[in-house]
């Protein structure tokens, strides 16, 4: 039985060892061709080894853990008809409630309606006779399918992003958990995960007009607000509009230096222009000022000053970098109304152009889309149309000719990555409900490596110190306990691999702790044996009695600790689930190793030598 268990754990651990060997082998090849060839010829065994090997948690191998929350309430809100004051009031209440309550939103909504004695059918669907419960059920299934669709779209994007072994799961009716091992390009992932809701095609407006609008806003802001702390000014290498104006003033009047306005004064007079740069037909800003600008331009009172058919949006990616590493973003002026939205896009694909020199994206539309697209492109030849996702501009290609059949090609892209991102953006057009990031945990690869090292070091030192103590204190019986301890660790790791659980840093902590706990059983037994033999019993009898009498205490203590671990696992609080798993497995295993294995070894020695050669110290 024991032998079988040891063999079995060997079987469970073999893939881990194998996969480790493959990795080592791959690293030893000097050219990529060699390693590709090796992978090709051993694909199957590598694959199966990787599937069955002990998986490392994100905290050890690095990666991202993201919890996305789907805006189910927004989805429901969009469905409601005949909204009135009491509806809005309830909605506001629910909006507050969901911050602290993870019950499915339709249920919360229905509870709130019940409490007010209102019927949901007044606002949802067309059947006025439908009961609240019926409508709740309908809303529930709809929100569920929205979350599932969002999940599928996210999976699609993650797949295209090219992550090995991503896991994407839904949780509690409105959350999507995305785990991406080994990903370090955090910004790109966030953009892809979150870049969701609205895909629109908007005409780009003339910058001269934009300049007028900005001027108006600038004057208004200068009058209406006393700014003391604005964003960081543009560096000297860039000419801000404000500085330009000052320079002109200086040139034309050739005034004395002391009449020059200070930088602060200038900023106060030009709160908006201090944040912007202008070059020919380009209005741009820095990354830091972008935030400030966005905030300024979306203020309600400022919005009122902007013409109704006018909208501003920034680049999704910087279009250029300054010498000192500042990222620059374009400010686009757009027509506020979209010409076309993402729901008309049927297909998008990134490819290389036919001559293979430039990346491009091809895009197809449904009939309705193609009709509109033909009209829009026909009327705007040589003008730019911006592809806008969530109010950021991903690309603004120039219309070269009228496109009648809806099948378009976007070129002028800088890299294949840009092309594939654009493809994903175009495909993502119709995400049912907006999602936002509710939790993110990212571990960089070097921290992961540090944690593995620290964890292994702790495990080693923990084992060595406890092992040494046992030998010093219990002599040869201590050796046997240590042997059991080795088996304990091996079994726990094998069990982890077998259950395809992941080993995390808290998991290693659990393992280190298991070492301490596992010897406890042996300490209990050995103390008992010493006691019994101290009362003059024969060694063989003392050993049997020791195991016998210590058992109830060992069982009770193991069960209680196991219960604590089980609760930790059951309530599944995120990253420490791994700790609970190793602790539980460790405790279960130590019940076996500390009692059965040590007893077998002791009995075996006794049978062989008749007299006791085992010392209990």
């Amino acid at each position: 039985m024991t032998l079988a268990l040891i063999l079995f754990s060997g079987v469970l651990l073999y893939p881990t060892f194998q996969s480790y060997r493959f990795t080592g082998k791959l690293a030893s090849f000097s050219t990529p061709e060699d390693s590709i060839e090796y992978v090709n010829s051993n694909r199957q065994s590598i694959q199966s080894a990787q599937d069955k090997q002990l998986k490392l948690g994100l905290d050890l191998q690095g990666g991202m853990h993201v919890v996305l929350e789907v805006d189910v309430l927004g989805l429901i809100e969009a469905q409601a008809r005949n909204r009135d004051e009491s509806f809005d009031k309830i909605l506001l209440g629910v909006k507050q409630e969901i911050k602290t309550n993870s019950t499915p939103i339709p249920t919360l909504l229905s509870n709130a309606f019940d409490a007010e004695g209102l019927r949901l059918s007044r606002y949802f669907y067309d059947d006025l006779r439908a009961s609240n419960a019926e409508i709740t059920a309908k809303l529930l299934s709809e929100s569920e399918s929205a979350v599932n669709r969002a999940k599928e779209i996210i999976r699609n994007r993650v797949d295209q992003f090219g992550v090995a072994e991503p896991t994407i799961t839904t949780q509690g009716g409105r959350r999507i958990i995305v785990e991406l091992p080994g990903v370090s390009d955090k910004e790109r992932v966030r953009r892809l995960l979150k870049g969701t809701a609205k895909l629109e095609f908007k005409l780009v407006r003339d910058n001269a007009l934009a300049f007028k609008v900005l001027q108006d806003v600038n004057t208004y802001l200068a009058k209406a607000y006393q700014f003391d702390s604005l964003g960081a000014p543009l560096p000297d290498s860039l000419l801000s509009v404000a500085a330009l104006a000052q320079k002109r003033l200086q040139d034309s009047l050739s005034t004395r230096p002391d009449s020059l306005k200070s930088q602060d004064e200038l900023k106060r007079e030009n709160p908006l222009f201090a944040l912007l740069g202008v070059e020919q037909n380009l209005i741009y800003t820095t990354e830091i000022n972008r935030v400030k600008l966005q905030e300024l331009l979306t203020r309600p009172d400022v919005r009122r000053r902007i013409p109704t058919d006018f909208d501003f949006a920034f680049d999704a990616r910087p279009f250029s970098n300054t010498e000192d590493g500042l990222k620059l973003y374009r400010l686009y002026s757009l027509k506020r109304e979209a010409e076309l939205t993402g729901k008309n896009i049927t297909e998008a694909r990134s490819t290389m152009s036919i001559d293979g020199s430039r990346p491009e994206v091809t895009m197809k539309m449904d009939d309705e889309g193609a009709k509109i697209w033909g009209r829009v492109t026909g009327a705007n030849i040589n003008k730019q149309i911006a592809i806008v996702l969530d109010n950021t501009v991903f690309s603004a290609p120039v219309v070269q000719s009228k496109i009648a059949n809806g099948s378009s090609v976007i070129n002028g892209l800088e890299s294949m990555q840009e092309a594939s991102d654009l493809e994903i953006v175009l495909k993502a057009g119709a995400l049912p409900a907006p999602v936002m990031i509710a939790e993110e945990r990212t571990v960089g690869p070097s921290l992961g490596a540090d944690s593995i090292r620290n964890g292994m070091l702790s495990l080693l030192f923990g084992f060595v110190t406890v092992g040494l103590f046992m030998i010093v204190y219990y002599r040869s019986a201590g050796m046997i306990a240590n042997l059991a301890l080795v088996f304990n660790i091996v079994f726990v790791i094998a069990a982890l691999a077998g259950f395809s659980a992941t080993l995390t840093l808290p998991g290693i902590a659990g393992l280190v702790l298991t070492i301490g706990m596992a010897v406890d059983a042996n300490v209990l037994i050995f103390e008992r044996i010493r006691e019994e033999s101290g009362r003059g019993k024969m060694m063989k009898l003392a050993i049997d009695l020791g195991y016998d009498k210590a058992f109830s205490a060992i069982l009770d203590s193991h069960v209680t600790t196991f219960a604590a671990g089980a609760l930790l696992y059951f309530f599944g609080i995120g990253p420490i689930k791994g700790f609970a798993v190793t602790l539980m497995i460790g405790i279960a295993v130590s019940l076996f190793t500390a009692i059965v294995i040590t007893k077998i070894v002791l009995d075996w020695i006794h049978d062989r030598e008749q007299t006791s050669s085992v010392s209990f110290g």
């Binding site: 993870s102 939790e439 921290l447 540090d450 620290n454 009770d556 203590s557 990253p575």
Partner: protein
Amino acid sequence: MRLLHNTNFDFIGKRKIAYVISAVMLFVGLGSMAIRGFHYGIDFKGGTEIVLRFQEPVEIAKIRAIASSVEISGVIKEFGNPKEVMITTDFSGDLNDLQGRLETGLKRELAQNPFEILKIDAVGPTIANDLKLSAVYALLGALVIILIYVSFRFEFKFAAAGVFAIFHDVLFVAGLFSLFGGVFSFMSLEVDLTVIAAFLTIVGYSITDTVVVYDRIRENLKIRKTEPYEKVFNDSLNETLSRTIITSGTVLLSVLVLFIFGGSIIRSFAFAMLIGIFVGTYSSIFIASAIVLDWQEKSGEKIKLRG
């Protein structure tokens, strides 16, 4: 080798002193919890934490200046060693913006000292609340299960006293976290998920220790039916003393190893365990059995033990 062999300490006789010591410690801990509260990690209060590692040691003041120049406000402190810095700010759904601003600022001002982002944790308010609730449920659930199991294996008085000892241990450690939260630079002593894991392990450990003593009391009560309870209890404590100390010692060793070598991430966890094991050992010797005895004498009934 033998430690504490055939001891005859009068633990039970000194229980009044132990009560006073425990009462004072708990009073201070609870007082601090009421006044100072806890230093919650972002798991429970929500927020964004970024840990950076620089190639060369950096001045925190410099990082603070850079952060405020890019409009990042929050707590900035050293993380374990002078090359690592932790920035804690409010939760921001738009991490790209936050990270971008930070990177730009640091690259501009500290070009000669490159850095990498070791980790980013961002926890939104909904999640933080969920985590807090599940932590409370897990702790209470553990206590209830232990109460039921120990009542079933021994007797309700034993179970209640054992659970009280657990409360005693966890509250003591929690009191320390409240008193010293944020005081040391090498460990934050913030209450977060890993610390809750430590609390739960302390729960498990504390009851383990207590149960071993109970087990011996149960056994001795069966054999020595005529002797007074006080003597039986005290002898049982002495008989299990060497086991109690050795086990605490070995667990303490492995936790100490974690504390020293585990890195800054699990240092608070290891600290909680370290103290928890100390108090757990103390309470299983001086508090749990003593309470059972006092309760017993007040009620005047005989102990009816199962198992």
